[in-house]
């Protein structure tokens, strides 16, 4: 007997999209949240722009102790988690806590605090033998990536399997994929899943500068993130977090829960090619898409929308276009494919989960979010990228793909329950 997995709650902290209603407004309006960096003085950096969240943790129910103890990326996860659990209508007090799991992704975890305290203990980079007496009380929590899932599990009193997933830029899709498997395999009935990252810091901006992965369009930040456009020149750093409540479908139905959609399938493969480089064929991403479709028992022609990785680097968008064409065949040309990174930037490990929230909302509203800033076609990117304006469309099944450092290629299929097909 196959256990089916439903999405019953959504929460999100995205740039200019804190909370599901604001997030969906941003996407359906096609506005962009990218701007000049305000968190620190970016002088000297090649890329001085980012999509920052104007996030007030106190307004999202975090108390002063939590605010002091938790790194920003964990605060995002707590806020998104509150929203998602509330949205699900679950009363976790009556659920068996041993059947509640947590699976959360992050690419760079606590590096922002690690860097902050490093500056203190090293006298601004002068000493290798760092002075331990200068550190703050919470540094060890920043050091351990497990702090993310642990803190969220403590908040919701989950006692089932709790794990942090850290596969770089596919962390968000992979964390939700692991959650899907956890419920499908019967190891939990409920999983609080998603991802979070707050990478807008000098060291992270500098390390992407060093490989020219980020956009240097500093004089026009609002139009800097240009996935699939011929004039794209790198991604724009973002930050944020998203949480989805996954639940075994019968468990959800028994309590009369609203089911946004099902997780139909998830797969990930490595390209075994290069830590940051991509092949032009997209073979491994195509394979992940095919595998996810097989699990969902869907034909490729059933895909109504592709939520792209669409980072806006030259090579990514070509690679991905090739992969989607390889996996969907001629149907790729009839399928809208857009990148919300054009609006909210690329929040590394978090973005995959933010994009899955966007997919669930697309299915709910029967609307495809656009690719903002898309103006000039690239001959090598010849699919329908939904330029600038959201589009109404009948949607039953959607695909979200991700690609990341390490060569990881992941795909998730979300679909409306067959019984509710439109």
């Amino acid at each position: 007997m196959t256990r089916r997995v439903a999405v019953t709650g959504l929460g999100v902290v995205a740039p200019q999209g804190i909370g599901v209603p604001a997030f969906w407004d941003l996407l359906s309006d096609g506005r962009t949240a990218t701007r000049g960096i305000t968190f620190f003085d970016p002088a000297g950096l090649r890329s001085q722009i980012a999509a920052e969240c104007d996030f007030d943790p106190a307004a999202h129910g975090l108390d002063p102790e939590q605010i002091a103890r938790c790194d920003r990326y964990i605060q995002f996860a707590l806020a998104a988690g509150e929203e998602a659990v509330r949205d699900s209508g679950l009363d976790l007090a009556v659920e068996n806590p041993w059947r509640v799991a947590v699976s959360l992704g992050t690419a760079v975890g606590g590096t922002t605090r690690l860097e902050h305290d490093y500056v203190l203990v090293s006298e601004r980079g002068k000493r290798w033998d760092v002075d331990h007496r200068q550190v703050g009380p919470h540094l060890h929590r920043a050091f351990s990536p497990s702090t993310l899932a642990s803190t969220v599990a403590e908040r919701f009193e989950a006692r089932g399997p709790v794990q942090t997933v850290s596969t770089g830029c596919t962390s968000g899709l992979d964390a939700v994929g692991y959650a899907f498997h956890t419920i499908e395999e019967g190891r939990a009935d409920i999983c609080i899943t998603g991802a979070s990252d707050s990478p807008i810091s000098p060291i992270t901006m500098a390390c992407f500068d060093a490989i020219k992965a980020t956009s240097p369009n500093n004089d026009d930040p609002a139009h800097a993130s240009r996935p699939f456009d011929a004039d794209r020149n790198g991604f724009v750093m973002g930050e944020g977090g998203a949480v989805l409540v996954l639940e075994e479908l019968e468990h959800a139905r028994a309590r009369g829960a609203r089911v946004y959609c099902e997780i139909g399938g998830y797969a990930t493969f490595g390209n075994a090619y290069h830590m940051t480089g991509l092949t032009s064929e997209g073979l491994e991403m195509a394979r992940a898409i095919e595998d996810a479709l097989d699990q969902a028992r869907l034909d490729r022609t059933a895909i109504d929308y592709v939520n792209a990785h669409g980072s806006g680097t030259l090579q990514n968008d070509r690679h991905e276009t090739a992969a989607v064409k390889r996996a969907l065949g001629a149907h790729a040309y009839d399928t809208p494919m857009s990148s919300i990174k054009s609006m909210v930037g690329h929040s590394l490990g978090a973005i995959g989960a933010i994009e899955l929230v966007a997919c669930a909302l697309s299915l709910t509203h029967q609307v495809v979010p656009p690719t903002a800033n898309y103006e000039t076609p690239d001959p090598e990117c010849d699919l329908d990228y939904v330029p600038r304006i959201a589009r109404e469309r009948r949607l039953n099944s959607v695909l979200s793909v991700g690609s990341g450092f390490g060569g990881f290629q992941s795909a998730v299929v979300l679909n409306l329950p067959r019984e509710e097909t439109r």
Binding site: W98, A153, F405
Partner: protein, 415 residues
């Protein structure tokens, strides 16, 4: 579904540990109870109030890994690449075997400390000299996924790639993740964890753990289950395993060293050791149920052995809670007192030791622990010969995860 479910076999072991940088040397030190704990010698650490650790000292990366991979990776990934090579050699899987079907070989690692030494060097460049002095490899050396990605690329593996970071217990979760991937249809996974948390800034980060031992005598710094328990000693190194479909291993004539029979994980809150008693017991019961195994079937327990009185008491009680009266009779060991705890890698080393113990019919001892004060049959000063079929490995993380894994010797059944 038809046919029996695919079982996951361990067919190869690779070890880079403080007490041995090959499986043979590791097993020799482990069974003889030789402790590798010592004063820290790493540059820039002498002034820190953390004096004892398990350092990997006889490890020569250029002799083992190509220059182009070394320059773009941290020490934790050097360990991982070397251990993965050993494990694949041990399993008899060469490039010609894996190149034939790259999508059927995946990689899953657990990571808890990332590329700390590399990261500290690049942070120093940034803050001392400026952003233009940050090198091109910082973005791929520091992050937790570095080892999985580099093993996949270096060996040409395109199968499912994963990285879990569920603190110490994550090491067991990674092995279990690999076993589940085999059940889902992937033929082979290279799975495990290696850590290198002994760079100065990484050490400073760990000072916040209240369970850390700051005793400066290597023989007294890590003594779990004794009245003198004073915390744990950190370590570097780890192990990688080849986990593959048992049927396919037999088809290609590989030796099935052990099967991964059961696993379960729970969570009871960071540093809430008293509550870990129930969490660990639940994990053991879950793992036994998946392995279809009675408590009496467990022939040896590899304990988490954190080394604080509260945590040790919780573990001793959890073993009895889960195994009943058998829990006070079953031999319990914790060879990690001779290597220190290499975070997520520590329980993978224990899995390696457990496979070797099952094979040799020999329970390795718990170095420096000879006066246990709990109601356990702790294998203390010297190894004990025993007929071993089934081993239980326990792990808990500082952030609150509890995990249990059941291994069976050799093939899963006689068929």
């Amino acid at each position: 579904m038809s046919g029996h479910p695919r079982r996951a076999a361990i067919t190869g072991i690779g070890v880079v540990a403080p007490n041995g940088t090959s499986t043979d040397t590791f097993w020799k030190s482990t069974k003889e109870g030789i402790s590798a704990l010592d004063r820290i010698t790493r540059e820039g650490c002498g002034h820190l109030p953390l004096r004892v650790a398990g350092e990997v000292r006889d490890f020569d990366p250029p002799a083992l890994v190509e220059e182009r991979y070394l320059v773009q990776t941290d020490r934790f990934t050097h360990f991982a690449m070397a251990a993965a090579d050993q494990a694949l050699d041990d399993a008899g899987l060469g490039r010609s075997d894996t190149d034939a079907a790259p999508f059927s070989v995946g990689v899953v690692t657990a990571a808890g400390s990332g590329g700390g030494e590399f990261g500290q060097r690049e942070l120093q460049q940034l803050w001392d000299k400026g952003s233009r002095f940050v090198g091109p490899y910082q973005s791929i050396a520091w992050f937790y996924a570095a080892s999985t990605g580099q093993i996949s690329i270096r060996r040409g593996f395109k199968g499912p790639c994963g990285v879990v970071a569920a603190d110490e217990a994550g090491g067991l979760d990674a092995v279990a993740h690999a076993a589940r991937a085999v059940r889902r249809g992937t033929d082979v996974l290279v799975a495990g964890a290696t850590e290198a948390p002994l760079a100065p800034y990484s050490m400073v980060c760990q000072l916040g753990y209240e369970e850390l031992s700051t005793v400066d005598d290597p023989e007294r710094a890590y003594r779990p289950f004794t009245a003198a328990a004073c915390g744990f000693v950190p370590a570097e190194g780890g192990a990688m395993l080849v986990v593959e479909s048992e049927d396919l291993a037999r088809e290609r004539g590989a030796s099935v060293r052990a099967t991964v029979a059961g696993h379960a994980a729970t969570f009871t809150g960071a540093s809430r050791w008293e509550e870990s008693r129930q969490g660990l017991a639940q994990a053991v019961l879950g793992a036994l149920a998946e392995a279809d195994c009675a408590p009496e079937d467990i022939d040896v327990v590899f304990a988490d052995a954190l080394g604080t009185p509260e945590a040790d008491r919780a573990e001793a009680l959890a073993i009895v809670d889960a195994l009943g009266a058998h829990g006070t009779r079953v031999p319990v060991t914790a060879p990690k007192t001779g290597t220190g705890r290499s975070y997520a890698a520590a329980p993978v080393l224990e899995v390696a030791a457990a496979v070797l113990a099952l094979e040799h019919g020999l329970i390795p001892p718990t170095p420096n622990v000879f006066d246990a004060c709990h109601d356990l049959d702790l294998v203390s000063s010297r190894a004990r010969a025993a007929e071993l079929r089934t081993a239980l490995i326990l792990s808990r993380g500082l952030m609150g995860s509890n995990s249990a894994l059941v291994l069976r010797r050799g093939a899963g059944d006689a068929s």
